[in-house]
């Protein structure tokens, strides 16, 4: 037993990302088998990614909240509220689409900063602040919509959730992305060499680029076999790129990790830790706005129940993707892979006709397992 957990522990801490990809492969093969391949068609792949996009957006914001050592239970409700506001602005008041989008985004960031202010400056635990939001935002939405579904009027707004990128454009995008990765890799190499620092061997970087290239080709090709890259998926990928950059390369990103790992030491180094926390919630609010707009566009209506339990899917995605429940650890791509695992389970179980109560039980069990793996493999367990 002792040796068994020890090996498991080492395996997961060293190859966390591989373990996740392995899990996805197993899940896909499993459902592919049970559905006689229907699960593995380009059409379902496209569906799966669209399903994952909304949870993915929330998880991208949530992962920073969790890294900074907090939690946000209100995101499902604020997604619903923001989506509802978008629908009302469009259908009831006939605002132009850009105005609606900008307003919702500003409101989303505002809601996030409001939560963050309560947490960081008024020092109410985030669990409580967001639990209050969980109730209040949903209540606000029910009041605004009077409990009814509000349809959308502008086709342009619907496109955010339902359109696909033309094939040609998708190809160009894939090519551009690959070029960017190649340029970045070589810039890092020459930069390090210039400062007399150790550079990893050329073949290693070359292999990395080949793998990246293969993934991009496979991804774009498969989606183009169906209708093309769905717009929400594109948005999620752009968020992935920007947020990964934010996490690794910016002062703000570094601060988030250090606040989560040791708040006091960070504060005593002269960092405005409250501001960092508040901004992390602001970012979460921005993601709620994106997710709210996408949800409303996808349904072509603002529903009073939109986003229900969305916070739990997002939180679960982060933990499955390797974020630590003790803060200080986590990645955006991990959170998105977590979201993909959740979406695959949802989609696959629906296809083979598993009843929804079973789906909830399975997802709950997976969340528990993921955090358990974090606890046994994770930082600090030896202390």
């Amino acid at each position: 037993m002792a040796i068994g957990t020890h090996n498991l522990k080492r395996f997961f801490s060293q190859y966390k990302i591989l373990a996740l990809l392995f899990a996805i492969a197993v899940i896909w093969l499993f459902f592919g088998q049970l559905t006689d391949g229907a699960f593995l068609t380009p059409r379902n792949f496209s569906n799966l990614l669209r399903q994952m996009a909304i949870t993915g957006m929330l998880a991208s914001g949530m992962v920073f909240i969790i890294i900074s050592g907090e939690i946000d239970l209100s995101v499902g409700a604020s997604l619903g509220l923001l989506g509802g506001i978008a629908a009302i602005m469009d259908y009831t008041y006939h605002f132009p689409v850009p105005v609606t989008i900008v307003t919702v985004i500003v409101l989303g960031v505002g809601i996030g900063l409001f939560n963050g202010y309560w947490v960081a400056y008024l020092r109410v635990p985030s669990f409580i602040v967001s639990l209050a939001g969980f109730l209040a935002f949903r209540g606000l939405l029910l009041g605004l919509t009077k409990g009814t579904t509000v349809p959308l009027e502008s086709p342009a707004l619907v496109m955010i959730g339902q359109a696909y990128l033309p094939t040609m454009f998708g190809n160009l995008l894939g090519l551009g992305l690959f070029a960017l990765m190649a340029v970045l890799t070589f810039r890092t190499r020459s930069g390090r060499a210039q400062h007399g620092l150790a550079v990893s061997p050329l073949w290693q970087d070359a292999v990395k680029l080949v793998v990246i290239g293969a993934v991009i080709v496979g991804f774009v090709y498969t989606l183009n076999l169906y209708e093309g890259i769905p717009v929400p998926v594109l948005v999620t990928l752009i968020i992935l790129g920007i947020f990964s950059f934010l996490a690794k390369q910016t002062v703000f990103g570094r601060r988030i990790y250090s606040v989560g790992s040791n708040l006091e030491a960070t504060r005593l180094s002269g960092v405005n830790v409250r501001m960092v926390k508040m901004l992390v919630f602001g970012l979460m609010g921005l993601m709620c706005a994106f997710a709210g707009l996408t949800t409303t566009a996808r349904l072509a209506a603002g529903s009073p129940s939109a986003g229900t339990l969305g916070e739990l899917d997002a939180i679960a995605s982060c933990f499955i993707g390797g974020a630590s429940s003790r803060g200080g650890v986590g990645t955006v791509y991990g959170a998105l892979i977590g979201a993909l695992i959740m979406a695959s389970l949802d989609n696959g179980m629906s296809m083979i006709g598993v009843e929804s109560f079973w789906q909830m039980i399975v997802k709950g069990a997976i969340l528990l397992l993921a955090v358990w793996i974090d606890v046994i493999s994770g930082a600090g367990s030896e202390r």
Partner: protein, 512 residues
Amino acid sequence: MSEYLLDMRGIVKDFNGVKALDGIDLKVRPGEVVGLCGENGAGKSTLMKVLSAVYPYGTWQGQIFWEGKELKAHTIRQTEEAGIVIIHQELMLVPQLSVAENIFMGNEIRLPGGLMNYSAMYKRAEELMAELKMPDVNVALPVYHYGGGHQQLIEIAKALNKRAKLLILDEPTSSLTKAETEILLDIIRDLKRKGVACVMISHKLDEIAAVCDTISVIRDGAHVGTRPMSGMDTNEIITMMVGREIKNLFPREEHPIGEVFFEARNVTCLDVNNPRRKRVDNISFTLRKGEILGVAGLVGAGRTELAMAIFGCYPGQYDAELWLDGKQISVDSPRSAVMQGICLVPEDRKRHGIVPLQGVGANITMAVLKDYARYGVINSEKELHQIEKSIARMRIKTASPDLPIRGLSGGNQQKAVLSKMLLPNPKVLILDEPTRGVDVGAKYEIYKLMFELVKQGLSIIMISSELPEVLGISDRVLVIGEGQLRGDFINEGLTQEQVLTAALGQSSELAA
């Protein structure tokens, strides 16, 4: 039965292929006090964790014989039942629970039905307190009523209550005052007479010399030697520990001292929980350019609170008027302190100094990260360049700047925290216990660095509980006692006795 109570033979422990212990022997006779010495990272704590089954049997190689029989313990509970009790450097008491409840934690005396038998526990706790010469402790009061010295003794009472035959004390005096230390050493001698053996890990060699029968030195995970204490002197021990002779522990260097540069007036801090109590009571002092000002005093005298008030991070209510370079400054947060040229290296490195999960490099540049960024985007190469410079300057031992800092030894962590606080180019640097838990070699390097810095015109305030350090390094010494300024001495011919007398509040008017 063998003559040894404990006989550890050829202990080897490795972490992912790195040998932390490489064939260590340790033998303890009944009623013997063994001093275990070694630099930080030498393997002392690892050895004790092997002994107390924090690392269970099977995760290391070698044999442990306990009272003649091989001990194969898998849990701490098993070693405690055998009679091996470890008292950690950081005390493991629950401050809100009473003294008696702490002593009996985990082995409460129960009445039928699981109720606690308080009267029996109080009686036994009082007996233990009397045995430890603390009859005035009220065992029904919460532990937080008592200071560090008492708490240490309460831990020992807890161990005695478990019928310990071997006590392991890990840096037992690191937060004790001189008087409290004396009491503790007395009690160790007393326990020795009653047949309780002791392994004492300490950096304070005079204490080891005062109480130990035998001294065992380890270095880099290997056993250097075990000798009877009589006939050893501290220089020999140091030589064994570091493998080279450090002739002068305090590399004092002459340096010019300028005009008064920084001044704190009327600093008063109120206790967080009890605002009627003043932790710092109207202290004013000055600091000259290029001066090292030592701040001495007993633990709990208010030295750390004074530093926190100056750095803008005292958690309770406080007042402080600060003047820097002729201008009054206002400091309301660590951030504004750092921006105005005041930096603090805190006392509690683990809680306040390091960000454990981040790399050594990220820790070093934390305070000045914005200088390596444009529009919030970090220029990694520029940052890395500075990090490598800092690591080289401070001789921080790390395989890579990306390695999480928590894997480093105390001395190296401290050097990293110091580098972090030097990068903002402070004018006033406050060092709170800069060499606590730091090995002899790193200590020496830190002192060297301090002199290098003051020669460049920096002013340093050094808070320290080690009088030899205060007297060996400082140009001037402030003595704080019970929140008040008790003395301000030029460090010329100053003796430990003078400083202690002032700290205790006697005849401070004799101050030079």
